[in-house]
């Protein structure tokens, strides 16, 4: 027994869903979907849950994450109900349900909250600068310190509990009992999908899709590599030429690829880049700004101009803090984890059911 709830549909519209009400249940979306199969049939089922307001069924489902937005469902939908974009908004909705703080939901639904939080960061960083508490040296030192602290803090306080909640909703609530062996045998899925995103390639076999996958793949690689270079190898402060060059390459990858991603979202030539929620814009633009500002900071350090252009570093710090405290824990960054954990949990579910 489930109560029909129209408010859920209205709520989803704030998460970016559009026109899904127009669905007349023909199932074309599911039929053309290259990723849907008999065991995991979507998107029609998810559209139906959204129309009828079965939010608990959506919350407990991994299907939003099994969709990689090939976009064919939207292309072929005879009612123009845009099932692909609904799946995207369901991922945002699921993210908000996993997040114990509730901040994800607030930021997704409310652009003003996003902007205020960004402004607060800007005020904080500039305030700290104007208060003259830190010397230039200390800025660099504490900047690096912040990075490490933020990573550990966000992981321990936000992301780990959220993944645990995702597991509770999507695995534990489905099957009584706990078989550790299934978690071991499925663990490969987590790593494979986290680092390859290979499921994207199952989308219909066209060259454009492969190019997109490759860009995304090297972006993930570049991002993780830059993270390692700056946090572990302390790129901004290091004297080792190899590390310095590596940092340039990795930050270069980030801003080149994200520049292309921004262009894609402006041009709207594929289904997946046609609709952009504020959180999508923030994600790609901030990643771009991070790459560019990191590159510029190191360039200024190498050319000895950093002290005369210290605002560039401050700018980088603002972007970094906004990224680390807002976008990573509560924004689109989380799809990096939820997507791969969804594949992992889905495998566990299948092993449990078998």
């Amino acid at each position: 027994m489930a109560k029909v709830d129209l408010k859920f549909g209205k709520k989803l519209k704030k998460f970016g869903a559009i026109d899904f009400n127009a669905c007349y249940n023909c199932g074309t979306c599911t039929a053309v979907c290259a990723l849907s199969d008999e065991k995991d049939s979507f998107p029609r089922e998810m559209v139906r849950f959204s129309v009828t307001g079965l939010s608990e069924d959506v919350k407990g489902s991994l299907k939003p994450w099994l969709c990689y937005y090939c976009g064919e469902c939207t292309t072929y939908c005879p009612q123009e109900a845009k099932p692909g974009e609904l799946m995207m908004s369901l991922r945002r909705y699921a993210t908000s349900r996993y997040d114990w703080t509730g901040l994800s939901g607030l930021l997704y639904k409310n652009l003003l909250a996003y902007i205020i939080s960004f402004l607060l960061v800007i005020a904080g960083v500039i305030g700290a600068y104007l208060s003259d508490t830190f010397t230039t040296e200390e800025w660099f030192h504490y900047g690096h310190y912040f990075e490490m602290l933020a990573i550990v803090g966000v992981f321990l306080l936000i992301l780990t509990p959220n993944i645990f909640r995702m597991w509770l909703y999507s695995v534990q609530s489905k099957k009584k009992g706990f078989k550790l062996k299934h978690y071991f045998s499925a663990f490969g899925e987590l790593l494979v999908h986290m680092f390859t995103q290979k499921r994207t390639l199952k989308c219909d076999d066209d060259a454009k899709n492969k190019i997109w996958w490759f860009e995304h793949f090297i972006l993930v690689f570049g991002y993780l590599a830059l993270l390692f270079t700056t946090v572990v190898l302390d790129w901004f402060a290091t004297e080792v030429p190899f590390i310095i060059y590596m940092g340039y390459v990795f930050s270069g990858i980030i801003f080149i690829v994200t520049f292309d991603f921004v262009i894609r979202r402006i041009r709207k030539r594929s289904e997946k880049s046609t609709f952009s929620h504020p959180s999508d814009w923030f994600f790609v633009i901030w990643l771009f700004l991070m790459g560019v500002s990191a590159f510029a900071v190191r360039l200024l350090v190498d050319t000895g101009l950093i002290l005369d252009n210290f605002w560039v570093y401050l700018f980088h710090v603002i972007i970094l803090v906004q990224w680390a405290l807002i976008i990573v824990p509560f924004g689109k960054w989380t799809h990096f984890l939820y997507r791969s954990f969804a594949m992992y949990f889905d495998k566990v579910n299948k092993l449990n059911a078998a």
Binding site: M1, K3, F49, V51, T52
Partner: protein, 645 residues
């Protein structure tokens, strides 16, 4: 006795000649008594061959023709026309079927097939030998049409007939015209209300001097047949002067009337007085007193001198050549407790809901409670799994969606939940379904054997469905109002159908002769049907059938003479000892008793007789013969068939 008979045997391009030795048939037939010409032909029906046959018949001065070819259903008319073109009477032609009856079923036995073909053609020759030239029967016709029912179909048909110059009697049983359409607000796909549509048609009806409108008129009897119907109409009085310009006093009369009864125009959701009109601009614009409700207290007479309680019922007789029946439908009335009807107080029908929307202003309320969630339950009384109404009522899906969409124009914050058995907004109407979906109406679907349930739980009305669109999950909606989308059923009050003997289909609606080829004619010659009396139809479909029926009815009255098929039964008055066996056997009421000199004999009405032959075998004195199928002709055929070669 025909002496110069022509026999033509068709190859049918191998269809016949591959299995039947057509040359042998030709040779055997050539020796038959009276056969003057016996020939074969590759394709008898080909245009060139038809011309040759005409020339051949003329050149040889033949007096009768047999063509042995395919089924008479296919080409009998073709070769009758050939004989007519050659100057013969078409009843001097007999068709022999040696394809469907011989070559096709006996393709495994060529010798046997040839023998059978010979027998069949010989028997046809035996019949044609006795054939006589006969002419169609001509009858005088009344150049007028009676249209029964002044709903949208009846009015449209009446206007169409009147424009063709025919005198039309338009009879409406109710005191007000417009039928179902008059009730409705803005109609689907238009910006016009039902009332506006009715107004337009009424204006045309009144302006056309060829139309005589009777309201409160009920058909009580009908005699005669195609071309000459005599119909009695009983006219109920209004008890109020027809042209009532005394509006103020009528208003007072309605006010003072102490009787209150449920108002049928609003399907019982409001009350009316015994003296009433449905709405201020209802047509005709004159109030009426319903004598079944009236207590004859006389209060109204005191305030309005237009009221005349002494008016009497009268009967008029109209003479018409055709009757066009457009008597419409009844709305299905749900059984007590069916989806909570009459058991739960916020369960109403779609008709009631539409009237509720029309008469409500400001907030939409039912029993004083504000309405937000409206649940529509579809196919109530249609597509029944257990009941008898197996058919789809066609109009209801679209009507419901239109009502729901329009209701949002007038009342904000209504949520719509549609509990369907599969949407059937066919054709252009699909766009309304799309629009409703886009606006956030939620559609559910159930199977017929697992219907939606309406329950009362702690004073709340809950609608439950095992939704097949959501993995058959049980979903529930708390509804402020449950609207039962009731389908169309045949009129319960069916005296017209009984009087005119219009046959009914399996769905109990009036039946046409042929669903596709003769969709508005009935087997009762001269009687046509239009609109929803024939089966569920929406307005567009009703109008289409009305226009079509008007043309068909017109064909019976367009000239003052009507010719009818002469293949009818004939009574030999010398032999007839009127015993009424034939009268009873006749399915068309064509036989009556008349005096002939000193004795009673049977008389066959040739305009009604269909030549079916039912009366022939029951006659104890063998006084009846069927023209072109006389005993002699049929016995001759049997003799040939029963004797071997």
């Amino acid at each position: 006795m025909k002496q110069k008979i022509g026999v033509y045997i068709c190859h049918c391009g191998g269809n016949i000649s591959d299995y039947v030795d057509v040359d042998k048939v030709k040779d055997v037939l050539a020796k038959e008594d009276g056969v003057y010409v016996s020939k074969t032909t590759i394709f008898a029906c080909a245009d060139s061959n038809q011309k040759e046959m005409v020339a051949d018949i003329k050149a040889n001065e033949l007096d009768a023709v047999v063509v042995a070819s395919c089924s008479p259903k296919l080409h009998q008319i073709t070769f009758q026309a050939v004989t007519e073109r050659a100057g013969l009477n078409k009843y001097n032609y007999v068709h022999a079927n040696i394809r469907e009856q011989v070559s096709w079923p006996h393709s495994d036995n060529k010798i046997g097939a040839t023998e059978k073909a010979i027998q069949i053609v010989r028997s046809s020759v035996a019949k044609v030998r006795l054939s006589q030239a006969i002419e169609p029967i001509e009858i005088d016709t009344q150049q007028a049409v009676l249209v029964l029912g002044a709903g949208i179909a009846g009015m449209k048909a009446a206007i169409s007939l009147a424009k063709m110059g025919t005198q039309v009697y338009l009879a409406e049983r109710e005191h007000f015209i417009g039928g179902r359409i008059a009730h409705w607000d803005v109609l689907c796909g238009t910006e016009e209300t039902g009332k506006e549509l009715v107004t337009r048609l009424y204006t045309d009806v009144i302006a056309n001097k060829n139309i005589t409108l009777y309201t409160g008129a009920e058909m009580v009897s009908s005699g005669g047949s195609k071309g000459n119907f005599n119909v009695q109409l009983k006219l109920k009085p209004r008890y109020v002067a027809d042209v009532c310009d005394d509006k103020e006093n009528i208003k007072k009369a309605i006010e003072v009337c102490p009787v209150e009864v449920p108002d049928e125009f609003n399907f019982g959701i409001t009350k009316r007085k015994a003296i009433y009109h449905n709405f201020p601009s209802e047509y005709p614009q004159a109030a009426v007193i319903n004598m079944d409700d009236c207590t004859r207290c006389g209060e109204c007479e005191k305030v309005c001198d237009k009221i005349d309680l002494s008016q009497k019922e009268e009967t008029v007789e109209v003479k018409v050549g055709s009757v066009l029946v457009a008597t419409g439908f009844d709305s299905y009335t749900p059984g007590e407790g069916e989806f909570g009807y009459q058991a739960i107080d916020n369960v109403i029908t779609l008709s009631q809901y539409k009237r509720l929307l029309a008469i409500s202003n400001g907030e939409l309320k039912w029993n004083g409670k504000k309405i937000e969630n409206v649940a529509y339950i579809y196919c109530v009384g249609s597509r029944q799994v257990e009941g008898e109404n197996k058919y789809c009522s066609r109009y209801c899906c679209t009507a419901t969606i239109n009502t729901a969409l329009r209701s949002n124009d007038k009342f904000k914050n209504l949520n719509h939940f549609h509990f369907t058995r599969g949407m059937r907004t066919y054709g252009k109407q699909e766009v309304f379904y799309h629009e409703a979906s886009k606006q956030g109406h939620v559609f559910f679907q159930s199977y017929g054997d697992d219907p939606t349930k309406v329950e009362n739980k702690n004073g709340k009305t809950i609608v439950k469905i095992n939704d097949i669109l959501t993995n058959r999950k049980e979903l529930e909606v708390e509804a402020d109002l449950v609207v039962l989308v009731t389908g169309m059923v045949p009129r319960a009050h069916n005296t017209i159908g009984d009087i005119l003997k219009i046959p009914k289909g399996r769905d109990k609606f009036y039946n046409e002769i042929h669903m596709k080829l003769r969709p508005v004619e009935t087997v009762i010659d001269g009687v046509t049907i239009a609109g929803a009396c024939q089966g569920p139809k929406n307005i567009v479909e009703s109008i289409n059938s009305a226009l079509s029926a008007s043309i068909k009815s017109y064909s019976f009255v367009s000239s003052d003479k009507l010719s009818v098929e002469p293949i009818v039964a004939k009574i030999d008055e010398n032999l007839c000892q009127y015993c009424d066996a034939c009268t009873t056997a006749c399915p068309f009421d064509a036989i009556s008793k008349v005096k002939s000199g000193s004795k009673d004999v049977a008389l066959i009405n040739h305009t009604v007789c269909k030549g079916c032959g039912m009366c022939l075998p029951v006659c104890p004195t063998n006084a009846i013969q069927l023209i072109t199928f006389s005993d002699d002709e049929v016995e001759n055929m049997i003799n040939v068939l029963a004797n071997e070669l």
